[in-house]
């Protein structure tokens, strides 16, 4: 147990950089970072308040149909699903691709201890996902319904316990997945293809279930009678998809009597059993998936890939060569692959698919979109442009160089090539996102080739300034000292700052588009957007050129 606690301590410190943070708080320059971070966080508050207001309306609606409990259920369910989806990505990078494993595995520690400690740190990260979602639901329900003290106690416990089961399930699925894809030679490819299919499958099942649920809920004449009879009807219906969300809800709804208590106990009992199963399973299969992972390519296989130098030499322009190098490293580093490439594939798919549930809404949507295609073209462009920042490629492009940054600084590379090459690498990943976007749109509506081209061209054009904004932030304060690529991308404050500035840029454009929307022809809007993108790209290019040449000299 002592080992476990000390592992958890080290892992938490390592993951959140507590020691470094404490150290840098003493440094005046770094103190600014925290202030900027604080301001950024505060800038999100207005959006959050708007969201809570909307939730308040939802609460009223659920009262009107006599299904007040359903409101709570939606909160619990949504946070658990999100924890699960993010959990799969987190678990994979944390259990299998983090660098501390090289040091942990040779130590005399059980695999269950390694996994258990990593699970705890992940839980803390997951609270950042689950708490902002679940808290407004709990607060609105509790305050508006004037619930008693026991409600708040149960809520507190549940809020802590909510991420456990989704994370346990994600861990078990990933462990099994990694064990069976740990095949020599084809491992990387298999895992990339496998995990994409895996994620899509989960999303697909999720949406299928949702639409089945909708049908069940909406179908039949008895439905309304039952709805009136049973105030927890909707909770039970959705509970079929993931029962623990139902137990959580029912415990809060019935906190005043014995069944509330029994649901709390059931919720935690199942969570604990799940955790134990995961730990026991980890003893059996965790190392199986891990070991082959750490040997990069064994010495036995060396020479098996002897290559002809003549055939492997290709001459490229410096910026093309730089872009190719960037893309190769993005694809070959799991953390980058999951965050950048994975992000641009998954986000459009989730967003597009989640707008549609059930066949009836689909029919209506197809009809509307047939007549007004720009209702889908404009949001699609917006989405792609935002992905230009969310893919984190621009705002980590120099940070990702890390200890290799000396190479870039000692080579005779023109600054222009640096900019073009790095922007190009982001655009290549954006192309993947555009394909995912258009592919997902095809699920709900057929759009014409002309519109596809508009999405692609404007999306790419808009991704250029987004990438450049990220690059400006990153060259001003590159995070070059890291031992784990995770730190360069996921724990890099530049990503967050980039998103703040990017959202501001995108927000202004969205505002402008909405203002112009019914005033001028849609084609003019496209042209205006294109012009703005080109102009801002050019201005940012000039700024970047100055900054990079200055920083390449100044940085130490």
């Amino acid at each position: 147990m002592n080992k476990m606690i000390s592992l958890i301590k080290v892992d938490i410190n390592n993951t959140y950089g507590l020691s470094t943070m404490a150290h840098s708080l003493k440094d005046k320059k770094s103190r600014w970072r925290f202030i900027i971070f604080g301001i950024l966080m505060m800038s999100l508050i207005p959006t959050y308040i708007m969201l809570i207001r909307a939730l308040g309306n939802m609460y009223d609606a659920s009262i009107q149909i006599g299904q007040r409990s359903y409101f709570l259920q939606m909160g619990i369910f949504a946070s658990q699903i999100l924890v699960f989806v993010f959990g799969i990505i987190y678990v994979m990078s944390k259990y299998y691709f983090s660098n501390d494993l090289d040091q942990l595995v040779p130590l005399p520690i059980k695999s269950s201890h390694i996994l258990g400690s990593k699970f705890v740190t992940l839980m803390i990260s997951e609270y950042l996902t689950s708490l902002p979602i679940i808290l407004p639901f709990i607060l609105i329900y509790g305050i508006r319904g004037k619930e008693g003290i026991l409600y708040w106690i149960y809520s507190f416990l549940l809020a802590l316990g909510i991420p456990v089961l989704p994370l346990v399930i994600a861990s078990i699925l990933v462990m099994i997945f990694m064990k069976y894809t740990n095949i020599k030679g084809k491992k990387d490819l298999l895992r990339i293809v496998g995990s994409s299919i895996f994620l899509f499958l989960i999303l697909f099942i999720q949406f299928q279930m949702q639409s089945i649920m909708q049908k069940v809920i909406a179908g039949g004449d008895e439905f309304y009678i039952n709805l009136a009879k049973n105030s927890n009807l909707l909770v039970m219906k959705l509970g079929v998809v993931f029962p623990p969300s139902m137990w959580g809800t029912l415990s809060l709804v019935n906190y005043g009597n014995f069944s509330g208590l029994s649901y709390v106990l059931l919720f935690f009992l199942v969570s604990i059993i799940g955790y134990i199963i995961m730990i026991l399973l980890s003893e059996k299969i965790f190392f199986d998936g891990l070991i082959g992972n750490m040997e990069v390519s064994s010495s036995k296989s060396r020479g098996s890939r002897i290559i002809g130098i003549k055939d492997s030499i290709k001459i490229n322009k410096p910026y093309i060569s730089l872009a190719k190098k960037e893309v190769k490293i993005l694809f070959r580093t799991p953390v980058y692959l999951l965050n950048s490439v994975g992000g641009v594939i998954i986000l459009p798919a989730v967003l597009v698919m989640s707008t549609v549930t059930g066949d009836e809404s689909l029919e209506l949507l197809t009809k509307v979109l047939g007549e007004f295609p720009h209702f889908i073209v404009l949001p699609a462009i917006g989405m792609i442009v935002f992905l230009g920042m969310l893919n984190s490629i621009g705002c980590t492009t120099f940070s990702r160089e890390g200890k290799n940054f000396w190479i870039q600084r000692t080579l005779p590379i023109r600054i222009e090539d640096q900019i073009i090459g790095r922007v190009l690498s982001s655009l290549i990943i954006q192309l993947v996102g555009i394909v995912a976007m258009i592919g997902s749109i095809f699920f709900i509506a057929k759009i014409r080739l002309g519109n596809i081209l508009i999405i692609a061209i404007l999306g790419l054009l808009g991704s250029i300034p987004m990438t450049q904004i990220g690059m400006i932030i990153d060259i001003l304060r590159p995070l070059l000292i890291w031992d784990n690529p995770q730190k360069a991308m996921k724990q890099n404050l530049n990503v967050l700052i980039g998103m703040g500035v990017g959202f501001l840029y995108g927000g202004i454009l969205t505002f402008l588009t909405i203002k112009l929307f019914d005033k001028i022809d849609i084609n003019y809007i496209y042209i205006i957007l294109a012009l703005i993108f080109i102009l801002s790209s050019y201005i940012l290019y000039i700024i970047l050129k100055k900054l990079i040449s200055k920083q390449f000299i100044e940085l130490q």
Binding site: V296, S321, N404, W406, T410, P412, I553
Partner: protein, 240 residues
């Protein structure tokens, strides 16, 4: 070829002077050894020459080109091998070499010829298809050396190049240095290994606590020392 005038560099708001007003001039066709105990300022000086650290004052020029005013032109004349071969772990050896060659815009024929020659010489041609992350320290060192050599630099700068090399490769590297100088190129390297410096350097500078203590050929150094013995004794005497 390489002219260093009055350069200084201090860390920690000027409290620690890593390099203190150094002057050096290295001619074309020279192998120049840069010696000194740990923390003497060797790496700092080298980093200032290759453009990784900006000096607090002074001037560095290569063939008359100021390193900090025209960085691109200066960098295209230099190849640099750092003391720690940190390079892109996720690239294959051949991809890394090709990337470097693209940056120096080396023509295809020359590229193929040189890559074949140097990888064979350092015995890493069989590993070019593997990713660099799988290489040993020595192999990484060799791929960095190869990448530096295929650019055919006028000025070859190496920081502790012999560390981590096997005896045969170290021998080959010395041969390459000699040959480069015969072709009129310049080699500037730092080292701890005094025998190497003694054997192959045309001139040697000894740096201690940021200051150059002595510069000259082996003969000149011997004359200055009290006891005209090996470089080891001279080194120990001067850096005391």
């Amino acid at each position: 070829m390489l002219k260093i005038e009055n350069i200084s560099k201090s860390y920690g708001k000027g409290s620690v002077k890593a390099v203190d007003n150094i002057d050096l001039e290295i001619k074309s066709g020279e192998i120049f050894g840069f010696l000194g105990p740990n923390g003497a300022g060797k790496t700092t000086t080298i980093k200032m020459i290759v453009g990784l650290l900006k000096p607090d004052g002074g001037k560095i020029s290569i063939d008359g080109v100021d390193v900090w005013d025209s960085p691109l032109e200066a960098k295209s004349k230099i190849s640099y091998v750092p003391d720690n071969p940190e390079i892109y772990d996720k690239l294959k050896g051949i991809e890394y070499l090709n990337f470097i060659a693209d940056m120096y815009e080396i023509p295809k024929e020359e590229r193929i010829k040189d890559i074949e020659y140097y990888t064979k010489l350092f015995n890493i041609e069989h590993a070019l298809g593997d990713i660099i992350g799988s290489y040993s320290h020595g192999m990484k060192q060799k791929i960095v050396l190869t990448s530096a050599l295929i650019t055919n630099p006028d000025l070859f700068i190496l920081d502790e190049p012999m560390v981590g090399l096997d005896p045969k490769s170290a021998f080959n590297l010395k041969e390459i240095m000699r040959k480069m100088c015969n072709d009129g190129k310049t080699v500037f390297f730092s080292t701890h290994v005094l025998e190497v410096a003694e054997k192959i350097c045309d001139r040697i500078a000894i740096i201690n606590k940021g200051k150059i203590i002595t510069v000259g050929t082996m003969e000149e150094l011997r004359e200055h020392a009290k006891e005209k013995e090996s470089l080891e004794n001279i080194f120990l005497e001067l850096t005391e």
